[in-house]
Symmetry: D2
Subunit: 292 residues, 4 copies
Amino acid sequence: MKIGFIGLGKMGLPIAQHILDAGHELTVYNRTASKADPLKEAGATVAKTPAEAATGDAVFSIPFDDGQMEEVMFADDGIFNVMNAGAIHVCMSTLSVAVADKIAKSHEDGGHRYISAPVMGQPAMAEAAKLFVLAAGKPENIEMVQPIFDAFSQRTFILGETPSQANLIKLCMNFMVASAFNSIGESMALARKSGIDPETYVEVFTGTVFTGMVYQGFGSKIAAEDYDDVRADLALGVKDVGQFIEAAQTKVVPSPIASVVHNNFITAMANGFGDKDWSVVAKMMAKNAGIK
Amino acid sequence: MKIGFIGLGKMGLPIAQHILDAGHELTVYNRTASKADPLKEAGATVAKTPAEAATGDAVFSIPFDDGQMEEVMFADDGIFNVMNAGAIHVCMSTLSVAVADKIAKSHEDGGHRYISAPVMGQPAMAEAAKLFVLAAGKPENIEMVQPIFDAFSQRTFILGETPSQANLIKLCMNFMVASAFNSIGESMALARKSGIDPETYVEVFTGTVFTGMVYQGFGSKIAAEDYDDVRADLALGVKDVGQFIEAAQTKVVPSPIASVVHNNFITAMANGFGDKDWSVVAKMMAKNAGIK
Amino acid sequence: MKIGFIGLGKMGLPIAQHILDAGHELTVYNRTASKADPLKEAGATVAKTPAEAATGDAVFSIPFDDGQMEEVMFADDGIFNVMNAGAIHVCMSTLSVAVADKIAKSHEDGGHRYISAPVMGQPAMAEAAKLFVLAAGKPENIEMVQPIFDAFSQRTFILGETPSQANLIKLCMNFMVASAFNSIGESMALARKSGIDPETYVEVFTGTVFTGMVYQGFGSKIAAEDYDDVRADLALGVKDVGQFIEAAQTKVVPSPIASVVHNNFITAMANGFGDKDWSVVAKMMAKNAGIK
Amino acid sequence: MKIGFIGLGKMGLPIAQHILDAGHELTVYNRTASKADPLKEAGATVAKTPAEAATGDAVFSIPFDDGQMEEVMFADDGIFNVMNAGAIHVCMSTLSVAVADKIAKSHEDGGHRYISAPVMGQPAMAEAAKLFVLAAGKPENIEMVQPIFDAFSQRTFILGETPSQANLIKLCMNFMVASAFNSIGESMALARKSGIDPETYVEVFTGTVFTGMVYQGFGSKIAAEDYDDVRADLALGVKDVGQFIEAAQTKVVPSPIASVVHNNFITAMANGFGDKDWSVVAKMMAKNAGIK
């Protein structure tokens, strides 16, 4: 297939590489063009605008957020106006439900195919072709790109026929992750004020019923107060949990846990932690408990 | 060793059996005496009062709650007045920090040894000698009974020299578990109102970053609305999370997530779910979102 | 002055009447034209589009919400394109801060004057010319219309030089009101379950330290469960408190009380109370406590 | 009547003075005996123990909290053992519902009369005989002391036949007050970060729909950051709102607003504000928003 790929960040770059390795004809675009160098050397064409990458059979995009997605989509040199009838756009970003719906609607009106397919996993998992894909859209559209997903992921979950359902579930997952380390932070503040060693506490929960990478990974970070190694920064967390709440409100679903998580994040942000790893909220909770 | 064992519930019975199997001389007590029958047949002595079970080297207790513990301890036929100098009491229940402190203080004044050693795990894990023990108290006291712990558990975590530190961590764990299925419930209500199949949603989080028995076990229960198979009833959850909050307040630690969890539990209780599995809170959250 | 007036709802109609009575030349516009009949009889000109009402010295608008305001402002037959240089637009609606900022910016770019001047008070207060005006914008702009405010209000509060500051304070007030009757609802549920007569409870707080119309008015409604006499419906409350939270997030201010209020509102909305008076949230709280 | 009076704090002293002025034979007790000097000069007898003050027709008590009440009641030199059959005990403190129930039960068993009658109002109101009395208990018991209430109060509210109902309503009132200044604090933090003068904001709400002493009094304190003039210290607020929540849990009533208020208080306490006026929680909220 003739494929375009837009967005060569920490996740996008290894995904694009796997698609290229799978033998597809790839045209890539990134705002900072130099990021495309390794792909160019490996045989990809480098486009100067998103539009130039969008004239093939499929275009994959993984921009940073709603705002960048709308620009990639609707700007004068964006992809929307140049896509062929029947071509497919696959967006892998964590979009809001509202923006995903808007983009899906535009493509439907424009006679294009569209699916949302946000991914889960760390950059290392992207490199190892071990990501998880959360896909939603018309079954025939998902089938069309399933072999491409297989080139960089270990499993695809099919969530429904409305593309934004995949975005919603991605937001749910990010909420669940955020909620997990808020709970860790709240209980660890109590453990610390009760004279219990944080590392020991992490050992208890990860060594018993909270195995799994979220608790292991964030538990250790929080115990070690290692917030400078940033997986996702707090500001991004504020946005993601905010979009979960927004989606819940739109569907008239109360979100009391998410609201507490969000307010904890905002408090941490107001106190100068915006560029730290989002698990830094646990440090804010410790401060709120008078620790240090 | 000459050991007493008080409390032959779903957890106590298999634990006592393992202690007996390990070759100790065992005297058991349970309010409903018939529960002791299998142990009697296997060679244990059956006591008519807690006191009768407390005259050996060690007495293990696992009563239902604070109230029963205080009775076992301080009633006229309780264990406190008859314990030998130097004998050890090991309480394995989920006590409040305040009651654990009170009992520890009494034993210290009485010249007895005391450690708190609440256990984690399901009855099936107790039968398989695979429980986890959370122990706190003087190191020499824990060492004294470590071989007995080994007879019914896979691992002992040592949490500190103050017995109630173990109770605190047990409350932290129960809070973390409760918090996990509140997050599941909140996000699943949104997923359901967005037309996503609950089983699929559970598959997503358990199949990616939320492996581990808490998410797997409660995720499935919640998706299937299987609240009649009760592991811990909601009323017990209200108590446990309440004791977590109480401990946090005593240490001047804010507990905003626990407070939401607690209020969700209380709402579910007020709406008639008190005797269902504590994960039934997810059903209350669905109701609050107008589902069904 | 030659004045336009857009939006003849329960508040707009009496305000427009007072402006007319003060001797100004008034052109009015309302989507449902018949609402303008009494003003027409009293000497006002009736416009067929917002634009027709916006060619004088000043245009007052009080549309229902952000969406209607943007339409009145920016639609082809909207006011923005026809306003004279130096003319003033005074918007009296409860806008979001973001939309107020957008409108202020547009007018600045367009060479018009603009102030935000949301009003507080019931329709009866509008009829009696006893409203409160919350005004923000350049001092000379406020001065320009102060005599007109005086025609329908008892007092004008000047809040700052940025128009949206007035909108922010209006949202703060609506949050405070909503918060007050959430507190009433929460404590009254407890009072009722404790066998205390709701009317007596209202008498206690209104008869001691919570005099003032918010507590008196909503206290009585809640005690009497009189939610069909709608001052502001619940759906509007969801919007207003949502905009307060949105403004707080934009300024990186945590809003834990507002979040609880909002979730309570959303729960009530999901349970079918959307078109009742917004104080119906107290009924939802009673239900959550298992009452009835 | 021959009356005993126990507890000569800021409220107790002027109340006792009014009772004396009304012509009753008064015996007073206070832990720090010197507080009784002015009453002694005015003709009161000074007792050396609570018991000495409790042998007449009635004993009024207003100790600091649950703990002091239990001591005054049940200690060896306490009032319980010496009260005459048919004599009445009137407790005016803010007790927990549980302790009020316990004391009521004891008096019933002991053949004494008992009513709860916590008071509302500042010391200045006590001096002016303008307090409010919240009374609960058997009607004939309330009638028996109504003339005494009239000597120091402007109005008595009768809340029910179970004494602790009055304590519950007192806790509800303290929750409502605390909730009011949490809402003020939350919205004022937003107003301040939006560049609005705090005094102006207070003027808006007190000058429109939030007249009444709670908003006026605390609004001004918060705007002026005047937390050293302590009406009730934060630690007392933590206790009072904690007892409201405890009462709600006992009655299976969710208390989400009170939980937020409580956690805000605890955060402020953990950050060193325990001995400031309880409205200092607003300063904590400002800090959480990154102000100063």
